[in-house]
């Protein structure tokens, strides 16, 4: 049985240290300020890494960018590679032929799948829900999950994720840092032998992703206490806008679609294409974090608050499902219908339901792999448009596993980069993570009473978004130290917890 709650204690220390916060990519910390009663007055989820990637890129040949950006971090190389490629399609005035788009999307579906599977089983919901938020922190990890679910399931996860990685290798040339996408298309076609193997793997992946949905059912949805936590509007819940990509039929898309924005009342308020993004998205800086807060330009920055008057919005699996009219594949559509039947009308605002939405996207990614692998055009030989001029500017958008990713470059007439801006998914969810962490901390920490489980539930406020702060801060570095710092009402640090 998962351990959901544990005994609290009142700290007699003046300082609490939590470091690092676990199962997160990048660098961040949480500060919790308590009032004189020991209740939470304010929280800050701070990203503490230095920026500098944009400056690093200036003066470089634009065609180098798709390979440079894959080094921003090892978690999001495919989204950066393809967003960058889409920029260059425009910057070099070389629209890719349909075969190239389909090859890109096929490789990308494999990436979405391997990234989502890793989060579901190793980093996010499995450790927190299979073992429980209050489980021993030393066991609340992938090893503990395997102890709980058994070796057979653990081995199956490794094997099936490996199938997705194999497809990435076939299409991308390299799995982690792909090199195949170039301005105007892709560097090589796909042959019959490769596509036969991809079809075989895709069939197995569809079956495994259906199994993953049953795991979500068995572990989370059939546990009343978990459902109560998920549906508790005082915890992981706030009323935000949502943004995501849809295809030409309004169905959820990862690549090559148009953007939609839904307001907190469920109304689609805007649609836009890549070259219009600056009309819709702006960024706000704060003195306490290196990460900027993107917000909806038409609504405006109103601070870290929710509601229809606040320009804060969310991206990633839940948001994509909210803005979409449905899923383009049958098994994912059935799961989508059940999701909204269970959680209510759009937009679903329960933040922990990101995990369920992520599992549904796994089904979609696997089914979409099947579709693309059986599309005759995937074997086409017209896979690249040769550029004949430098247009000097381009914008690329893809849906990364952790949400919408914008790349925007400008170049001189020789194609040398003069300006770069990246708006990454985890930055767009940064405000939402701050709101959820604040809500959870305020409602679970009372009178200075804390516990291992409560502090982990504070961390779960960001984990549902599967954030990656390496590329959010454009910093490309190693381990993410994260600490939880609790201050008293005078601002004095009373406890710091590090792990």
């Amino acid at each position: 049985m998962p351990q959901i709650w544990d005994e609290t204690h009142k700290t007699d220390q003046r300082v609490i240290h939590i470091e690092p916060v676990t199962r997160l990519e990048g660098h961040a910390k949480i500060d919790i300020f308590l009032d004189e009663k020991g209740d939470v007055e304010q929280t800050y989820f701070q990203v503490v890494e230095l920026r500098g990637f944009e400056e690093f890129c200036k003066g470089r040949p634009a065609e180098e960018m798709p390979r440079i950006v894959t080094r921003l971090c090892g978690v999001c190389p495919w989204p950066h590679h393809l967003a960058s490629s889409r920029v260059l399609d425009t910057l070099f005035a070389a629209p890719p032929p349909p075969t190239a788009h389909k090859i890109r999307e096929l490789g990308y579906c494999a990436h979405m799948l391997e990234s989502h599977l890793e989060h579901v089983y190793a980093l996010g919901p499995a450790p927190d829900f299979v073992l429980g938020p209050a489980a021993d922190p030393l066991k609340r990890n992938v090893l503990g999950v395997i102890e709980a679910v058994g070796l057979e399931t653990g081995s199956s996860v490794i094997k099936h994720r490996g199938y997705a990685v194999e497809i990435e290798n076939i299409i991308g040339g390299k799995s982690t840092h792909p090199v195949f996408s170039i301005p105007g298309g892709v560097s090589r076609p796909v042959n019959q032998e490769q596509i036969d193997r991809i079809r075989e793997l895709a069939d197995k992946l569809v079956e495994f992703t259906e199994f993953t949905l049953t795991v979500v059912d068995d572990v989370i949805l059939s546990n009343k206490e978990y459902v109560d936590i998920i549906l508790n509007k005082d915890l992981y819940y706030h009323n935000s806008y949502h943004m995501g990509m849809v295809d030409e039929d309004g169905k959820l898309a990862f690549y090559g679609g148009k953007m939609r924005i839904m307001d907190p009342n469920g109304k689609i308020v805007d649609n836009f294409t890549e070259n219009q993004y600056l009309d819709y998205v702006a960024e706000h800086t704060v003195p306490w974090s290196y990460l900027k807060f993107p917000y909806l330009k038409k609504v405006g920055w109103k601070g870290l608050t929710d509601g229809v008057d606040s320009g804060l919005y969310r991206v990633a699996p839940l948001s994509r499902m909210n803005v979409a009219d449905g899923m383009a594949t049958p098994k994912a559509q059935a799961a989508y219908d059940r999701f909204f039947e269970t959680l209510g009308q759009k937009p679903v605002q329960y933040s922990l339901s990101f995990h369920w939405a992520r599992a549904i996207e796994c089904v979609y990614a696997a089914e979409r792999l099947q579709q693309l692998a059986h599309d005759p055009e995937i074997l086409g030989k017209d896979y690249r448009t040769i550029s004949t001029k430098v247009a000097g500017e381009g914008i690329g958008i893809v849906e990364a596993p952790r949400g919408t990713l914008f790349h925007h470059y400008k170049s001189d007439d020789k194609g040398l980069i003069t300006d770069v801006n990246l708006v990454v998914a985890s930055a767009q969810n940064y405000g939402a993570m701050n709101l959820d962490i604040r809500n959870v901390a305020k409602n679970l920490i009372k009178g200075g009473q804390i516990s291992n489980g409560i502090l982990n539930m504070v961390e779960m406020g960001f984990r549902s978004y599967d954030p990656c702060f390496s590329c959010a801060t454009h910093a490309a570095i190693g381990q993410m130290p994260m600490e939880l710092v609790i201050h008293d009402s005078t601002g004095e640090e009373i406890r710091r917890i590090r792990r």
């Binding site: 690093f56 080094r71 090892g74 992938v142 070796l151 653990g154 490794i158 799995s175």
Partner: protein, 156 residues
Amino acid sequence: MASTLILYMGNPIVKNDQVGLIVGSRIASFYSSRAGVDVKQFGGSPLDLVSDIQGYDRLILIDSISTGQRPIGSIKLFAEEDILAGEGDVYLHGMNLSEALKLCRRLQLPFPGELHLIGIEAGVIYEFDESLSAELRDTLPRITPEVRKIIEELIR
């Protein structure tokens, strides 16, 4: 003869973090025709590592370390117990090396019986730059032979 996998890692656009890549690629040229020794660059998820190391008898990792307590360019060899205890740990995107290796064992995968990590002290590594610092670059001519000597002793 025992089979050895040498994995080297680093980020080519992050200043001194790339030293593992530079040294590793030079090491790879030494062993390109040596039977029983595979040298590969690694840069993926911990779950990729779990797949990549299966079937080898010995695993040797080459990476930068940043302790701030040792001279830049100095080399420290970490033994298996150090690695599994998390000392000189290598971070692999949401999971660390020791967790990934323990995962292999827990899943009863054909896991290398011998583990070593060759850490190269790199000083400050968190800066976008395609060049090594002058201090580390000056030590490079002796780092590669020293790493190779350690490897030779390990696989002898």
